[in-house]
């Protein structure tokens, strides 16, 4: 093929890809796609998967200290779901031609990131409730539109995940309602957790739109359907009435309903803090990655044993077939 013919063929594939996207149809794993699209997806899906896996840690710390068997069973199920979410997403990433072991390696080497929110500590049991309410609530805002993401396997993983997130958010809110009906000390714990998690939760939506260099391309490719600021605003509008019902105060003096815009006005999160946490300097970054590394290394013998068992069974089956 001549160079010119090669370029034509490439152009042909590219326009077919663009046409599929503009018709709002899904791109599937074996379709031709631009390298940038593939790279962006791998980065985003992997980062999302890592967030689910690392996200097990802050809440997981409370499983053994849950105040009742009921709460323990719920928290266990929730954390197990997050492991599942991570695996659905690694499975989606693998359809793009990358191995999930490679992704784990990139996470442990700090070459891929996970959500900033999981680098904050969980100081009391009220944090478990607030994480369900805020963090899973923010995740729902982020994830519902991703169910229509242009990449088929990613969109389908999101559909599964979204079905499960609603339980996460509700169990958190219910936990907080229970505490708010309790003693003054319990109500103070809830308010304290709200104060600590509110701003980091708003940061989950990422930097402001004018400082989010990859957003425009992701939206053109319909990998992302809404901008960071738009999703952040939705989250605030959704959460304010829930806070009122619960009887807690959101720690933002600028927060008020704007009749004209039909949305809440609210303060600007400290995005320099977000930058710090993302670049590895949050309160728990080192601890989270170390924990993940330890789990991986301590599990190595289990994986090796399973492989050895499988090999032995396979050999035995072959022998029996010959005999």
């Amino acid at each position: 093929m001549t160079e010119a013919a090669g370029r034509d063929a490439e152009h042909d594939l590219e326009s077919r890809f663009e046409a599929t996207i503009s018709r709002d149809q899904r791109i599937e794993p074996r379709d031709w796609m631009p390298e940038g699209y593939r790279r962006t997806l791998i980065r985003q899906i992997a980062q999302h998967a890592h967030s689910e896996i690392i996200g097990m840690q802050p809440e997981g710390e409370w499983i053994t200290r849950a105040p009742s068997l009921r709460r323990k069973a719920i928290l266990f199920a929730k954390v197990q779901d997050e492991a599942g979410h991570g695996l659905y997403l690694y499975s989606a990433a693998e359809t793009l031609g990358i191995d999930r072991a490679e992704l784990t390696e990139r996470l442990l080497e700090g070459r891929q990131k996970y959500s900033s929110i999981f680098n904050y500590p969980t100081l009391s049991y009220a944090d478990v409730g607030v994480i369900g309410w805020f963090v899973d609530g923010a995740a729902i805002c982020n994830q519902v539109p991703l169910c229509r993401s242009s990449y088929g396997p990613y969109a389908r993983a999101m559909v599964r995940i979204c079905k499960e997130e609603s339980f996460h958010q509700r169990q958190g809110y219910e936990l907080l309602m229970t505490m708010m009906r309790g003693t003054d000390a319990q109500r103070e714990m809830v308010q304290d957790a709200v104060d600590r998690w509110w701003w980091p939760s708003l940061m989950m939506f990422g930097p402001p739109d004018d400082d989010s260099p990859n957003s425009a391309q992701s939206m053109a490719w319909k990998i992302k359907r809404h901008s960071n600021d738009e999703l952040r605003r939705r989250f605030v509008d959704m959460t304010v009435p829930q806070a009122a019902k619960l009887g807690v105060t959101l720690p933002d003096p600028e927060l008020r309903w704007n009749e004209e815009r039909g949305h809440h006005d609210f303060g600007t999160p400290d995005f320099s803090e977000l930058k710090e946490v993302i670049s590895g300097n949050g309160p728990c970054n080192t601890e989270r990655i170390e924990r993940r590394r330890a789990a991986h290394e301590e599990g190595a013998w289990v994986r090796a044993a399973a492989s050895a068992h499988a090999a032995k069974q396979a050999a035995r089956a072959r022998e029996e077939a010959v005999a």
């Binding site: 077919r16 599929t20 074996r30 379709d31 031709w32 199920a77 197990q80 779901d81 599942g84 695996l87 659905y88 499975s91 989606a92 693998e94 359809t95 191995d99 999930r100 072991a101 784990t104 390696e105 396997p153 389908r156 993983a157 599964r160 499960e164 190595a300 994986r303 090796a304 399973a306 492989s307 068992h309 499988a310 069974q313 396979a314």
Partner: protein
């Protein structure tokens, strides 16, 4: 990193309930078939999503080419007479 990377990839298919086909839900890695089924149960049926699971090694799946305009499917495109609407039947003929 070593060992687990050699675990083969399996595609997982779930029958949601009796009377339905198995439907592809995703993939996972497992050391052997038995482990693939156990993992698939834990991963894809935590809320009664299935009554039956198939786990198939991904490498054993034969697939048509990836081209959307694949001539492979051409035989089905030009045979309009395979569809009931191709045939003109007067309105007053009952039950057809």
């Amino acid at each position: 990193m070593s060992d687990s990377e050699n675990w083969p990839l399996y595609e997982i298919f779930i029958r949601g309930k009796r009377g339905l086909n198995h439907v592809h839900v995703g993939s996972l890695h497992a050391a052997d078939d038995q482990m693939a089924l156990t993992h698939a149960r834990d991963l894809y049926t935590r809320r009664n999503e299935g009554v039956s699971i198939w786990a198939v090694r991904s490498e054993y799946i034969a697939a048509s080419t990836r081209d959307e305009k694949d001539p492979f499917f051409a035989p089905s495109a030009d045979k309009v007479y395979r569809h009931p609407t191709f045939y003109d039947i007067p309105d007053d003929v009952p039950h057809i």
